[in-house]
Symmetry: C2
Subunit: 364 residues, 2 copies
Amino acid sequence: MTESTRQVSVDLGERRYPIHIGRGLLARRDLLDEAVSARQVLVVSNEVVAPLYLHTLQEALGDRRFAAVTLRDGEQEKQLAAMLPVFDELLVQGFGRDCQIIALGGGVIGDLAGFVAATYQRGVAFIQVPTTLLAMVDSSVGGKTGVNHPRGKNMIGAFHQPRAVIADLDVLDTLPDRELRAGMAEVIKYALLGDREFLVWLEDHLDAALARDGDTLAHIVERSCRNKAAIVAADERETGQRALLNLGHTFGHAIEAARGYGDWLHGEAIAAGMCMAAELSARAGWIDDADCARATALIARAGLPTRPPGDIGPERFREFMARDKKNRAGELRLVLLRGLGDAVVTADYPEAALTATLEAASHG
Amino acid sequence: MTESTRQVSVDLGERRYPIHIGRGLLARRDLLDEAVSARQVLVVSNEVVAPLYLHTLQEALGDRRFAAVTLRDGEQEKQLAAMLPVFDELLVQGFGRDCQIIALGGGVIGDLAGFVAATYQRGVAFIQVPTTLLAMVDSSVGGKTGVNHPRGKNMIGAFHQPRAVIADLDVLDTLPDRELRAGMAEVIKYALLGDREFLVWLEDHLDAALARDGDTLAHIVERSCRNKAAIVAADERETGQRALLNLGHTFGHAIEAARGYGDWLHGEAIAAGMCMAAELSARAGWIDDADCARATALIARAGLPTRPPGDIGPERFREFMARDKKNRAGELRLVLLRGLGDAVVTADYPEAALTATLEAASHG
């Protein structure tokens, strides 16, 4: 059976680009010819993904000059030093400003390769080929690129939009279960922050998604991308509502930084972070306890953690949260819920509700 | 005597910014209050400049939260690794996306601090306070930021415009003679590439400039900035005529890379590179030998080299020039002269003229 390809457009004027969603896309020469105008192409991938899919992609790129850099896998690789071998290869190959970079991998590869593309010769074009659910529904879309710093996640980076995103659903077949569940955290995020209808749908279809039903996953990727594309198009540089996409991330980034990158998966940390945001919203009286429980229950059903590790403690949480990029003039801004499917960015929450949430999280 | 402050505007729409040129500007609170909206300020400087001017600048910044990072001096410091202590300090201080970075130094500090500003939390505002003639007339204006890679100059970077440039002519009093002359190379560049009237003026006033006559230097900085601002405003991202500013730079960057950064000053390499560009233009029959000699004579009068080091050789020149950012699809593009004050960017020159120029350069 040939399924149709779905397409979502990220509407950024002259930097508008398509997200292609479907099966067998990695082998589709027509799609790559449309996306890759360059004659010189460098693919950045990792040691897990490259053996599975690099060859297919190379074939589909035809007779272009082709080079590839394979990095180690994992969030701990997302650092400035890991960019050096990519710059080296670009220069050894003699690739010019008219080359293109293709990110073939999950969020780490996409963010790092995108930042290389943003900065090589002050900017070259790039294509996202996400190979995890999380990258398909979140990190490959919207142009945020960058690397971590030991003192904070994504602290070094640039806004640099891809020319296209190619989400080949076939690659999800080889995705480990833990990674699929981590991706569901970002999917649930879109529902909680602004798409209540999708929340109800997810409650009905979560089991089918976790069982990797094809149509269900296709719908999930498309709906998530539509949600993200709409927010990015309205606020590309995150001067306002784009910060809503950070639901669960202020707590989640603190968990990742406190545990050391790579211990908890990003999606797992965000899952616990969303539960904390819901709890704080309930403690502030903005949502009722039933709504908080409903959000937490969906996250639990996805096999994701609903509580942070018990050993971080309120002080370290606050220390890491103080470095969040949303903060202004030293004020801690959070994404909280005023309802299911209705998030706000605010520094105007009861301080006691935050304290109680952090303390509850620290006592097993 | 109080001299008036001159002002040149770089006209980039909503990213328009002023270049202030005058004496005593570093101590001018009104100017800094206008340029620095932030309450958190990090100054990046080097070990030579900081002891001379950091205190004055700090005083003028009033009661803002102030931090400073002092790097070693020299082109060899302009690399990714040297950015790390700056990111560290920003994060240790807990500075947010609404902080501002001030570059207090020459071209190396301006390029590196500007690139930190372009990438810290995906971009914060910055101010250029150039302390060399070269930085005042060239590198502080136009938003090119970045660092070198062992395989090529400025290969990693971003376009990121400053909010203001503050060129305090007083700091030129402490500038070593060799640095002043290196700056004159970029001044002469503007005359040769597009301002014949300025060329004639320079031939008359070069001695006064080298003797550091105040009015003469003020005019030189202003006229150079006007030339640069006009070109940058017309082509911010170097899709066309901005490449003219690279007169002498394809040869010059090859000299710097071949010698190892820091051996020849950037301005010295560019001086020899401009003489090579003039020679190639004469060999191609585009300018006559008298014009070539006139350009070379002015460069020599400024105490600058008119020939590259004899030990590089045509092959290594070509190897380094092949990595130039102007190249497209493997074609070597050069900035050449069709007259004094009339440069073009072209790949359409006689190959034999390039070969002869490179060979002549290699035989002392």
